[in-house]
Symmetry: C2
Subunit: 432 residues, 2 copies
């Protein structure tokens, strides 16, 4: 704020005396010199404190500083090739705002449960900071991509009266007067209504799955972006999806190079991402899996080992299309070539990161959709408004959904999805 | 999609034969001429169908078209000053995709409950379409404002273990193994953690209040944007807020003029919005209310009539600051000039639209914060992680929150907040 220069801006202030407001990240001393590393959220800079250049009282105060103590530091930045970030600060004054208590996160190794319990502090660490900067960049790229292509953002509701895809993994919530509400798993059905009103739409918000699985890919609360387009076919959205993913990857490579370096990400794997992505028909995928000796039954969904086997054969995201209708949601349009298949697509990230996008073409016929709802034992009354969309100007339409946290996991090249959101929610994790 | 021109782009295709994919908005005929109005989500264009220019079968099909029937129309756009939007389409071919059933929303008047029950279709109406285009524009402006000023988007969790501000208006949700989760009312406390890690942050997502009030300003589910800045004071965020509101208003005026015209918004009232906004100390507000003869007790919160009385005296948003501590949340920093007051601000929209922003400076002292938590009868154990922020590098920090739907209501100049979100959730409204 006023009178404050952020560390990310020091290059513009070389040779001037500036004020940095932040926290002590680290400090070492050597005789009449101290080297405090300061962070202010925008970056980290190393300061040089020379005893003879500052008042004695300041020198004494600095000697007792602990990690994460709050400081307002005056000094003059100077270019230094050896310094991380390229600049050092010749410190002229230090005002101690607060001396931190014994900071619990130290350079030594901590267990993951300890770090997750201290998530509110762990976020200050360089690695977590970098991951969340990549996350924010991805989210901005997502919104720019759709906004710049004239998609209208239409937020879909979190409270829903009925399930979109089955009821076993829904969170139930008390509404008013003994009514129950369920937390959304997908904005899909609502997107179809807004697509008929706006042509091209997307929703982007938190979604919820009450899965009792504890894997490195699952959160109970995660963010999903879902575009939907009236008059679009499966092929249209496959093309859209490959351009979309490429756009995001390029944006992160352009703007978050420093963070990817902190994360030791092999960016050559990302630089390679460009359209066209390989397209693999489900039938061909099934053949490859059989030939590869995997225990895969034709007609079933792909399991994690199947996805890994297939995606390892490519260095780009793989689009597997036309899954059997029974393994997909009730609203998928059947493939006219083979009615047992659906006009659906899953996109598998490279390097074993698994499915990041699922989508397809939606069923257009009122009668067929009613049959499907009955076959899936879903109550038709819950879908009356959705069926209206097939009565009043039903047109072919398609879309997809991408989970943000899986995308962040892939682009950062990390192991576990829990680090990709500021405050992850999982099976046994509701705090902080 | 491919081979399709959107109505918003016809100006680039004058004289060319193009294909429009959409729905019938309206039709009238006169002898050998028909004038179908087409909408495709991007706009509305009037077509001219001249019997002698098209096959007999197409003419017959067109005669039976109903409102909201799905059509693919070929034709040549031509500039016409009298036409709404400035262009007409000389139709050369019409392909009927689906003849709509008897469309329930007609030009006649419908009751609000009927329209809300048909929200999934009502969205197609010109007025609702315009409101939601303004909403999407505001949301983009919000994100651009903060992203371009180096704020880091840090999504805060929806599932929370404890209440941020009291527990009476919380939605309770079954988590796992008999554990309860509460849906967030504000990202505030989490923002304070991320602000200490990133310096300048914002969160922007749905928030929930289980208020049993049925007013034109309340939704149970609404979107809120909340910036938070380390080392910022109340004055810093007041200045930020006035620049923020001005930015949003300007953006909507620039890009959504057509929609504001549909809504018959008096834009002169918006063109006037520019910094500085009037600042009114709570004590002065209290005096004005007393002199104005309102039944207002010093020390209390402002009621809706008080807000209306005050904001009517200004033609810009009014910033009322330094409310009594007891009417504000426990984490507000006391005013050093008068410890009974808090470093808080509410911003009241003009034209009687009431509070759109609430914010302030947060308490920095660990001991005082503990006292406040006890005074408010809140369980300290629920706030252990929040108190950590005062142990490890506590600094002055400030922020605010703005409810998107109230902002949309004001900018659109409409009566009720229920029209400002695609699928509103209210006391007796959980469907569609």
């Amino acid at each position: 704020m006023k009178g404050q220069v952020y560390i990310s801006d020091v290059a513009k202030h070389v040779g001037e005396e500036i004020t940095i407001k932040g926290w002590l990240y680290n400090i070492r001393s050597s005789g009449k010199l101290m080297f405090p590393q300061l962070r202010d959220g925008s970056g980290i800079i190393q300061g040089v404190v020379f005893k003879k250049n500052i008042p004695e009282s300041v020198w004494e105060a600095c000697k007792n500083l602990t990690q994460e103590s709050a400081l307002i530091v005056k000094g003059t930045p100077r270019a230094d090739e050896r310094a991380p970030g390229g600049f050092e600060l010749d410190v002229t004054d230090v005002e101690v705002i607060q001396v931190a208590h014994d900071y619990p996160i130290t350079p030594k190794e901590h267990g993951i449960e300890f770090l997750m319990d201290h998530r509110h502090l762990w976020l200050r660490s360089r690695r977590q900071h970098s991951i969340l900067k990549v996350r924010a960049e991805i989210i901005r790229a997502v919104r720019d991509f759709f906004d710049d292509r004239d998609f209208t953002l239409c937020d879909t509701p979190i409270f829903t009266p009925a399930a979109c895809e089955g009821t076993t993994t829904l969170f139930e919530c008390d509404y008013f007067d003994d009514e129950k509400a369920y937390l959304t798993q997908s904005g899909q059905l609502y997107n179809e209504a807004t697509a008929m009103a706006f042509g091209k739409v997307y929703c982007f918000g938190p979604t919820f799955r009450a899965e009792k699985s504890k894997t490195r890919r699952h959160l109970t609360e995660f963010w999903m972006v879902e575009p939907e387009i009236a008059y679009a076919t499966l092929e249209d959205v496959m093309e859209l999806a490959e351009n979309f993913i490429t756009f995001i990857v390029q944006r992160v490579l352009e703007r978050r190079k420093e963070e990817l370096k902190v994360l030791e990400r092999d960016i050559s794997k990302l630089e390679n991402i460009a359209p066209p992505f390989p397209r693999l028909h489900y039938n061909d995928a099934a053949k490859m899996l059989k030939e590869g000796g995997l225990a895969f039954e034709y007609g079933g969904d792909l399991g994690a080992p199947d996805e890994t086997f297939l995606s390892e054969k490519y260095d780009k995201p793989l689009m597997v299309h036309r899954y059997p209708a029974p393994v997909k949601a009730f609203y998928m349009e059947p493939d006219p070539v083979d009615q047992n298949l659906s006009l659906s697509v899953d996109i598998l990230a490279p390097e074993g990161y698994g499915e990041i996008i699922g989508g397809g073409q939606r069923m257009v016929s009122l009668d067929k959709l009613r049959e499907r709802i009955a076959e899936h034992n879903l109550p038709e009354s819950a879908f009356d408004w959705y069926l209206d969309l097939r009565k009043y100007g039903s047109v072919p339409h398609s879309g997809f959904g991408m989970g943000i946290e899986r995308c962040v996991t892939w682009l950062c090249g990390i192991e576990h999805v829990r680090e990709t959101i500021p405050f992850p929610r999982m099976l046994y994790r509701l705090k902080p």
